[in-house]
Symmetry: C2
């Protein structure tokens, strides 16, 4: 079929849809426009270009075998007419045309379409504060912005930097600045913890602690009120509950989220959701069946909540692009939605997750609980290993898994575990399914009882009322208020492990090795809350069972044990 | 409930079932017997103990926090009576008793049970050949055997070794001997390739090539006919199609599979399958509802074929143990079966898989195809990366995923991908589901289009007849017979890549860069089979589309490209 296909936007989804369509229907004429000069690049690689890990911006725009994905590439290799520096001005849905302007020549052209694809992406939000437009204030908008940031770094003009927003991109940029350029970097975040939408406070504390050890400074629960400077940025003024603080800086990076680019679609009368994204169905069709949309400008279905949500990720854009390519050629492929899987590497620490945090689950109306487990990422007797920390979020009653998040120095090992859970999310797994999950096993890679199975086991015990656990922030709050009168902190490890804590906190910290507990119940008060702790949470769970069997009712177990408290910086100082 | 629970076998499943039961029902009396002196150890760690990576055998028998899991540990920490060096002689199902003998004192005792658990494990097969019982011939039966092997290595008495069997344990032992002890090691395998039951010949060639580079010698398609020596092993005689060969050696390790230990159960009249494993239902009950069994002595359901199979893996034993523990206490947990996920690390190369290979799928009656893809394990612009090779096995028509296997230097990254596919296997995923699989994405961990998505995409194209691919062995066969008269080898890369091959194979090797192909069709013959090749298989697929559109019918595409051929040692030598 000699159809005309026009694709607006040529970064991630656009090229994928265009090329898939052209392969399925070699007769089609596929034209792809983009306002930018660079097309088909890996925007997620920008922090690695800024850091210098990726030496040349062209690498982000190249294939694995070093072919630059520019207009000639699309013409010769893909049979697609790519037009960079060309802006789509309007869509005439009645005539089925797009009016486009060449940004270099100013020439305008009307392109006819049989099917149209909107891959217009998103724009970084800015802050409605004075000074946000000063030179030296950047948003990580596109590869051109990245080139400008790196030029300033290369010129040696950045001794200090402030990053606003402790989400993925903000923290990746902070690492890029501090790690490779030695920039004195501060991160300002409105929420009380880093990565606030995707990590619980307990796991977030682990990441924050690592970043602080790498000399990144944080202002959490803080808001930038203005940016000042003479002709360029010189300082950032931050407001907290305690008052105002001024941070001197040479560079400001704003990373406070993105807004879908939907002006063109709105002007054409296409349906846009109250949250601002284009409304599409499972086949990625907008309210006009001849117009498809996907990637950062569209909303998709959250597979956990069943509700539409906005998830601007390059990986989703690519998969949606293929679905659109199919549908452009009459193959009724569907994109069912996403559970929101993510991962991030920050120095030598990694975090990953899928689905909802406990807070997000509560906000979505679930009666949820969460539990943290800790275990070596591979057999404990294998030479190279690291502790992994995983948190499960599940629904009470049904035992449905709503989310899982984790932190580990072994990044691939962590991402592999979250990936396995993510793969299951469209099937609405239960906690029991995690207990039984079959993962490849060998000592260099995991334990015979993998941490994902343990996560299911511990989650199942909590669900069935056989275990009750607390997370590091809750422990820290209890311990901060603990004078021994209300709470009995019981260390279930052997004496040498408990010794330093007994000395530092007499009358508050107590020790009965778990193997002796059944015979020493007389030492455990029945009128106080009992907080059980061991190294990883396994022995304190055994202790919990003993106390529960002996009729104790107000007992909690520090999930993941001292390993987890220590990682989160919530262990009592000795 | 004050029930008597007797558990026979205390290595993997036994302790798990016993401890879970005791936690759920603290009133129960749980007695656990084992013939061996060591209990509750990680048998899968034996090669790492033999290599010396694990310095002390006790480490394999310890918790993460260095507590030895011996009888006092089970008594004090778990409330379980563990009795090492105690053999179960018989079961009286009518009286519900077990007759047991202490192997040190010879004392016999009759233990009453309300519920009985058989965790009797398996025994390594031996070879019915002369000399198999000579000193210096070992099977990797248990930790005691490992201690004996390592003692001989430590004594410096092993310059040369022969491993019989190129399965997981055989190859892991070969690596342990060659890597850490510098032993000159030969592996003899009856099948024509290594890891023959779990890897296709194409992927197996990748592993074999790596092991050969590390100076491990192979006799494939060969059979040990006798073992000779005066008072101890001195040589192994190997028969091949070409005749007999004698290999001088100081040590022989037999690793030719295991047999379930079912004598006790057979004598008690419990149902045993024709394949030799105990028959159990989903709740791990034998034909006697008061007797449970699991681990290496029982058969489970293969989730791909739906048929019973025998899969002796420590990871499965642990999960089954928990299910049995539940059922001992009236919780009707179920173990639905397994898809057969596995992984192995051999020097710096790793392999992993789940489900069926193409050969196994054909044997199970599926009309299956397979396809290999190659891609960097993480973003191609990210500094540290390695090529990953994944093979998909799927059913024609339905597109059902029957298995997936892979090879990569980045082991965790590979195992993570297979783990995600493995997680899906109980849900009978289709190839399309792999295309859409949501994995956490960030450049340090993967590409925006993850290799699992690519595997689904390529599989889908083959399924729909839009691509036809060949694997490395097929390419090697075609190329070996290629004088240019029957097959046209068309390199779709740019000229400099193709140049060495054009020079080495004039008239056989041809080059048209894919971007020029549409305009140079006159150079492509219509009377010969066309074999397309590029670096990774992406451009040759584009070329395939062009040729198919131009009416060519006998065209195949080298799946995974030159990267895959090279990895498997099947690339033309230049």
């Amino acid at each position: 079929m000699r159809e005309n296909i026009v694709v607006i936007g040529a970064v991630a989804l656009g090229p994928k849809a265009a090329c898939r369509c052209k392969r399925l229907n070699p007769e089609a004429r596929v034209v792809m426009l983009d306002r930018g000069s660079r097309i088909s690049y890996g925007g997620c690689g920008i922090p690695y270009y800024v850091s210098g890990d990726v030496s040349d911006a062209d690498e982000l725009q190249s294939t694995s075998f070093h072919m630059l994905r520019d207009a000639p590439f699309f013409r010769d290799i893909k049979g697609v007419e790519a037009r960079p520096r060309t802006e789509a001005l309007s869509i005439d849905r009645a005539k089925k045309t797009v009016l486009a302007r060449n940004l270099d020549t100013g020439a305008e052209e009307t392109l006819p379409y049989d099917k149209l694809v909107l891959a217009t992406g998103s724009t970084p939000r800015t802050l409605p504060i004075p000074g946000a437009d000063l030179p030296g204030v950047f948003a990580v908008a596109d590869l051109d912005a990245a080139v400008a940031i790196r030029a300033q770094l290369t010129a040696g003009a950045v001794g200090r930097a402030v990053v606003v927003g402790a989400g993925f991109i903000g923290l990746e940029m902070a690492v890029a600045l501090a790690d490779m350029w030695g920039t004195e970097t501060s991160v300002v975040e409105y929420a009380a913890s880093v990565l606030p939408t995707v990590l619980s406070p307990g796991l977030a504390a682990m990441m924050e602690r690592h970043l602080r050890e790498k000399d990144i400074a944080f202002r959490l629960g803080a808001q930038v009120t203005r940016i000042e400077g003479e002709g360029k940025v010189e300082r950032v003024v931050v407001g907290t509950d305690a008052g105002e603080e001024v941070i001197e800086t040479d560079l400001v990076i704003l990373s406070v989220g993105v807004t879908p680019n939907t002006a063109l679609a709105r002007a054409a009368g296409l349906a846009v959701s109250p949250r601002g994204g284009l409304v599409v169905d499972e086949r990625m069709r907008t309210s006009d069946p001849d117009i498809f949309a996907g990637g950062d400008c569209a909303e998709i279905t959250n597979l956990v909540t069943g509700q539409p949500f906005f998830l601007p990720l390059g990986s989703l854009a690519n998969r949606q692009g293929r679905v659109i390519g199919d549908n452009l050629c009459g193959i009724p492929s569907r994109f069912p939605g996403a559970a929101g899987a993510w991962c991030v590497k920050l120095f030598e620490q990694n975090a990953s997750g899928v689905g909802l945090t406990l807070e997000a689950a509560a906000r979505a109306g679930f009666d949820a609980f969460s539990v943290i487990v800790s275990q070596f990422d591979r057999a404990h007797f294998y030479p190279d290993k690291a502790f992994m920390f995983l948190e499960l979020v599940a629904e009470r009653g049904t035992g449905r898994v709503l989310g899982a998040q984790g932190v580990c120095e072994m990044g691939d090992a962590l991402v592999g575990r979250i990936g396995a859970i993510s793969a299951l999310m469209p099937h609405h797994p239960t906690v029991e399914e995690l207990s039984l999950l079959e993962l490849p096993y060998s000592p260099p890679f995991n334990s015979a009882m993998d941490i994902v199975n343990v996560l299911g086991n511990v989650g199942g015990n909590v669900l069935d009322g056989r275990n009750k656990s607390i997370d590091p922030p809750t422990f820290a709050r209890l311990f901060a208020g603990g004078d021994g009168a209300e709470t009995f902190f019981l260390d279930c490890r052997e004496r040498p492990n408990a010794e330093p804590f007994l000395k530092a906190y007499p009358g508050v910290w107590h020790n009965i090795p778990q193997g002796q507990l059944a015979g020493r119940l007389a030492e455990v008060p029945r009128d106080r809350k009992i907080v059980l702790v061991c190294n990883s949470g396994a022995r304190s769970y055994e202790a919990y069972v003993i106390l529960a069997h002996a009729g104790y009712t107000d007992v909690v177990n520090v999930a993941g044990g001292m390993a987890t408290l220590h990682k989160a910086g919530a262990d009592p100082k000795v």
